[in-house]
């Protein structure tokens, strides 16, 4: 069984929304900045008023490695990437593709979710593949 996150009180709402099939991005209600990872206060101004805003679901693959061996449940080779979401903040996730050797940086991607038992985990599909 692939691992699932164990949320903390400050990340639980964000992960619960993912389990419901919705990616959100935390935004500071005081200064308006978006950030990730999710946290209960703003890393820019320190305000404790954070709201979860639905993400557009699009992004750009900033960089990645192609793992040639993986933990239990991961079928190598697979691409592990960092994606810049349309809102700005970045997320790590697997880019689902049959040809990880053909991936390129700056590829447009779309957020998807992988079912893992009770939970969902964020992953990414290439935009072309979903068009």
């Amino acid at each position: 069984m692939k691992p699932v996150p164990t949320p903390t009180p400050d990340t639980r709402d964000w992960f619960d929304r993912i389990d419901a099939g919705e990616l959100t991005v935390p935004r500071c209600a005081a200064c308006g900045s978006f950030f990730l990872y999710p946290r209960s206060s703003c890393p820019r101004c320190g305000a404790r008023s954070v709201e979860l805003v639905p993400a557009a679901g699009t992004g750009v693959l900033l960089s990645f490695v192609v793992n040639h061996r993986g933990p239990a449940g991961f079928e190598a080779p697979y691409a592990l990437g960092v994606v810049a979401l349309a809102e700005g903040p970045r997320l790590t996730g697997v880019v689902r593709t049959d040809r990880p050797d053909r991936l390129e940086v700056d590829a447009p991607v779309r957020v998807a979710f992988e079912e893992r038992g009770e939970r969902r985990v964020v992953c990414f599909d290439l935009e072309e593949a979903t068009a």
Binding site: T8, G70, T92, D106
Partner: protein, 384 residues
């Protein structure tokens, strides 16, 4: 009050053995190195009133050695912890909190004797945000930015492979280096792919070992009858950033190295052109490339060509990682102590692959996946 040159490294030594040491626990490796470092400067545990360590607690190191400490520093920010220990001791000794600080490192990285199994805490941000996506430890997370670096600056796979090739040339001159046989770019690219573009030979060793430093005020150092000349701390800096790779400010640069490095160089008053020798933590081949740029020795995107032109190699203008580095010399897990040891040897003039006339050595450590960094500028008496 300027702390430039305020304290000196008077004792420096590594564990008696390096590599595979199945008959010693991690704590014993701290102690073995500590006794070697004290012998190196003719002192005993009774002369020490401050203890700093990472991995094992300074409490345990002090008690094992029978030290009655008046100063403890358990800063643990991964592999760069020891650079921070030196910087904190610089402040503590100068402020009169203590007189002589012992900094120790020891890890049973290979044999795993007396070590806690490595796993991120289940509720850490790494476990929440990265582990579910299938990284295979540091080799898949640390080098994630490399492909972006290649795309932005045109670095080729061959240029990345040159880093371990050049460092192996230094290791060949060092009898204590674990890997000493020459390798080529072709060898690196033919080694097993771990997390493409990273091959096995782009990754550090996993070894057992330890190292320790004895620090005191420059004034006291001059009054001691030392077998080796003191090595002075001219400048030090530290910084940190995100605990997850996706949270780093940039994937092609390290803010932590940049901020800590700038501070260290500014405090030292040393110009880049006056640096004779450089150590940059090389858990993976790309780290020295980032480090050369983030420390300002070359411009953005220029490090691969700088290495290709032989500047960091034997006979080059800026000899780097002259012990063979974490890629060829040794890497216990928190390698920073070994980088400092080699800087001290080079300034003392006692390194196996000694560079001529080293008066200033810069030494940079990294913790986690660029999550922390510390830089030291070390100098001989001539630099004061």
């Amino acid at each position: 009050m300027s702390l430039r040159g305020a304290i000196a490294i008077v004792g420096a030594a590594e564990s008696t053995d390096l590599g595979k040491i199945p008959d010693k626990s991690a704590l014993e490796l701290h102690v073995d190195a500590a006794l070697n470092a004290l012998a190196d400067c003719g002192l005993t545990p009774a002369d020490v009133d401050g203890v700093a360590s990472a991995g094992e607690m300074p409490v345990d190191v002090a008690d094992y050695l029978g030290i009655v400490p008046e100063y403890l520093d358990g800063t643990n920010v991964g592999g760069s912890s020891y650079m921070l220990h030196v910087r904190h001791a610089m402040a503590a000794i100068s402020a009169g909190l203590c007189e002589t600080v012992l900094v120790t490192h020891g890890e049973s990285g290979r044999s795993r004797i007396g070590m806690t199994p490595w796993a991120p805490a289940p509720q850490s941000f790494m476990a929440q945000l990265e582990v579910p996506h299938g990284p295979v430890g540091a080799p898949s997370l640390f080098p994630i930015g490399v492909r972006r670096y290649m795309a932005e600056y045109g670095m080729t796979r061959e240029q990345l492979a040159l880093v371990p090739v050049v460092q192996r040339r230094w290791a060949a001159m060092n009898p204590r280096a674990k890997l000493r046989d020459p390798i080529t770019v072709e060898d690196v690219l033919a080694s097993p792919v771990i997390a493409d573009p990273v091959h096995l030979l782009h990754c550090c060793l996993v070894t057992d070992g330890g190292g320790a430093l004895v620090l005191t005020s420059a004034e006291r150092a001059r009054s001691l009858d030392l077998p080796h000349p003191p090595v002075y701390v001219l400048g030090a800096g530290e910084s940190s950033e995100s605990s997850v790779v996706s949270g780093l400010e940039s994937l092609t640069s390290s803010r932590a190295i940049r901020v800590g490095g700038e501070r260290a160089l500014a405090q030292s008053g040393v110009a880049h052109a006056d640096v004779d020798h450089l150590m940059i933590y090389d858990a993976f081949a790309h780290v020295p490339i980032y480090g050369l740029e983030d420390l300002g020795f070359v411009g953005r995107g220029e490090a691969p060509a700088f290495i290709e032109d032989g500047n960091t190699a034997p006979g080059g203008s800026l000899p780097m990682n002259t012990n063979g580095g974490g890629l060829s010399y040794t890497h216990t897990g928190m390698y920073g102590m070994f980088a400092i040891q080699e800087s001290v040897r080079q300034v003392r003039g006692t390194a196996p692959a000694q560079v001529d006339g080293v008066d200033v050595s810069v030494c940079t450590g990294v913790g986690g996946m660029f999550m922390s960094s510390g830089t030291l500028v070390l100098g001989s008496a001539a630099t004061l």
